[in-house]
Symmetry: C2
Subunit: 444 residues, 2 copies
């Protein structure tokens, strides 16, 4: 049990002294660039939304593959219309009709016109299309054309969208609706994408009980587990919920070993006591090819964060307070997930929103403060209202819309000042699954 | 076959004249407010990310349910520390230790101190916690306290997060990670949410072939189907891919009837010819309780959009050009999906980004123009570069990051002008499924 495992305060402080060189946000972000894209997998186009391309994609064919009309009208030889005006229209004889989806059979000779719908294939002989609006039907077989068309006018040529061999989408592109559309258009049914990062989420702390259990005296439900797993889902990772692991060395060690096999990242969100943090580090240190990257970040909340690696796998010790853990996730873990997912991590996350601060906020020098704010509107301006609350409380998070960063050398912000608000990660309710915990590991 | 079904141009123009009163963006948005939230369903908390609450949620209990320490330190009676300084510390005898997750047994008497970890339950008798940093261990049983604490200092009281019966989250809230966390914290395992809208997506046009087929002369693959289904996924709806329906009255009628039974919305994205548009309207008109809401919107691209209802179901005819269809989806359909999902549709979508226009753009008066832009950065400023391209081409969409709106009465925008860029809807690659098409309907 023993939350006071590091009972000898002096020894503990020495150990902390050995490691506890807090890093700045910029240092941490630059350290995260040491992690790389995961491996490639092929997925069906229907499953590729939001995934990141692992290769450049070149078009295997021309799109479109034939000349098409871009309007409803008449396919003609452009020179037959040269000089046409309302007063002196050109006359053409209707000698055919293009049907959608069929190759027109026959030829548009000089003086002739074929009816053609938008998207229809241009018949041989024609080199332009007169818009319906610029034609007048004289009788069943004759039209007047009141405006000249140039050669190629109202025509989409083969390869106008993409020519065979041209670059359609670049490696590293996160696929949106239209990107899937174009891949479909040139005939890709499966696409090479970067595998989604799997994150094993471990809750620890002897006071934590599963959310389905009624907490006894001194106990609380596992808020961090579902919060962090949901954060993973919102950020494009696959959470593996490892459940609640008793904070004893042998249990935690076993859980981290299992996690490292199953996942690309291991997140431990501890009880908030110093003992659990020490234990987390101790367990991480025993993993193969261990390298400590970050032990403490000069931010508030979120200072007692550990980031390490075991080979290519990331080991993360998050603060025990859920508000602190979520701030660290928003600032660093979303970026790390994006990197492992094959994205750049830059510019992919929701951009900050400009707002005006509703009141003064103090900040301690020598660290960055992330304050939670609620967004409102007043006289057409976006207002950021600071939400205060002890970091152990989750209530401050649920009424907040995002975070405002106060720079390290800034002693505070003033009412009326323009600030950038980083909105909390949100998902729009697609069907998403969490991977079920391994019963053997999580049984208490 | 007959793409020219409305062969008599005059009759067609008359019919259009009867309906074709184009509406402005604002009128259409206000019309969409006539649609309401879908019904309620209960889902497991793990499945509720991004869903919208269908009821106010009140806390069934106090969170936390007991007084907790918010720091590592010593639980004491505050008055024992009054007047303590570095020079004249208070002395306390360590008479107990709080273990995480357990109710401390015993009493903190005057002059005594109990070790307590962050999150530990406050023992009886104590009313404050002295931080470890402000104490000094004299020997195994004695500490010096060098700073006074006030009653309740470093303590979280029962109900400090949420008291029993208080409002935790409001109806209409779209659930984020932290919202699921707090629901877990107060013991909800299932939550009442608004059902996700189902959208039946029909592609039509005789030139369209499935994406797995090699197009013959005059044919193209179904780009719109996957683009629009993916858009639905990104927006929190469940697409039902109805596949490609031949553009003949009886086929389309049967498909729309089946769609209206299975889905909350029917989207037809037609071939772009006038004939298909007429047919779409004709089929919609034959649905029960038909009401035409919008026939034409004064925007470019996207003008030939139809929005109607059949009872509570929305019937939508989208432009055939994929670029136009996606613009209409981005401006109107995302909002409609949000409304049906129980959200307000306001403020939920990604906020616009401010940028500086890289060159002059002309715009026709009397309509709103939505121009596609690519975002870049130059000297720390966000630049919006207009991307031009015929609306039939999808290539212009894949290189664009978002849309800039040019107001109806504006004749253009100037280089260097500040503009708002509405980013295209993006998803971050959670596992999402499309519902498979009904084979009977889509077989060609």
């Amino acid at each position: 049990m023993g939350v006071w495992r590091g009972d000898d305060d002096e020894a503990r402080k020495q150990m902390e002294g050995r490691f506890f060189k807090v890093k700045t946000t910029e240092q941490v972000i630059s350290i995260l660039e040491g992690f790389h894209s995961l491996d490639e997998e092929f997925v069906a186009l229907e499953q590729a939304l939001g995934r990141v391309l692992s290769r450049d994609m070149f078009s295997p064919e021309d799109l479109p593959s034939f000349s098409r009309s871009s309007v409803d009208g008449f396919a003609v030889r452009a020179k037959d219309t040269f000089g046409a005006t309302e007063a002196m229209p050109s006359l053409c004889e209707i000698t055919g009709e293009v049907l959608m989806g069929e190759a027109p059979e026959g030829m548009v000779w000089s003086g002739a016109a074929w009816k053609i719908p938008t998207g229809g294939m241009l018949p041989e002989g024609a080199d332009a299309v007169v818009m319906l609006e610029h034609s007048h039907r004289l009788d069943a077989r004759t039209i007047e054309i009141s405006r000249p068309v140039s050669p190629l006018e109202n025509i989409i040529l083969p390869g106008d969208d993409f020519s065979k061999g041209s670059l359609v989408l670049e490696k590293g592109k996160r696929l949106r609706s239209q990107d899937l559309g174009v891949l479909a258009g040139v005939g890709f049914l499966r696409v090479p994408v970067v595998r989604r990062p799997r994150v094993a989420v471990i809750s620890t702390g002897d006071e934590i009980v599963p959310i389905g259990k009624t907490p006894g005296p001194g106990q609380v439900r596992d808020i961090n587990g579902i919060t962090l797993c949901s954060f993973c889902l919102s950020s494009g990772a696959e959470p593996i919920t490892m459940g609640i692991i008793p904070d004893r060395l042998e249990n935690l060690l076993k859980a981290v070993q299992a996690s490292i096999t199953a996942a690309d990242m291991v997140w431990i969100s501890g009880g908030s006591s110093v003992g659990v943090r020490d234990l987390t580090l101790k367990v991480f240190e025993s993993m193969p090819d261990f390298e400590l990257l970050v032990h403490g970040i000069s931010i508030s909340p979120g200072k007692p964060t550990i980031i390490a690696r075991s080979g290519a796998k990331a080991l993360v010790g998050l603060p025990g307070h859920v508000a602190s853990a979520l701030v660290v996730a928003e600032i660093f873990m979303g970026r790390l997930i994006a990197r492992l997912s094959g994205g750049t991590g830059e510019g992919e996350l929701a951009g900050p929103l400009e707002a005006v601060l509703s009141r003064n906020v103090e900040s301690a020098p020598g660290r960055e403060d992330y304050i939670r704010v609620r967004l409102t509107e007043k006289e057409g301006r976006r207002i950021a209202e600071p939400v205060f609350g002890k970091s152990g409380l989750i209530s401050s998070l649920v009424v907040s819309d995002g975070l405002v960063r106060i720079e390290m050398n800034c002693e505070g912000l003033y009412e009326g000042e323009k600030v950038l608000v980083y909105p909390f990660t949100t998902a729009l309710g697609g069907r998403r699954d969490m991977i079920l915990p391994d019963a053997g590991l999580t049984a208490r």
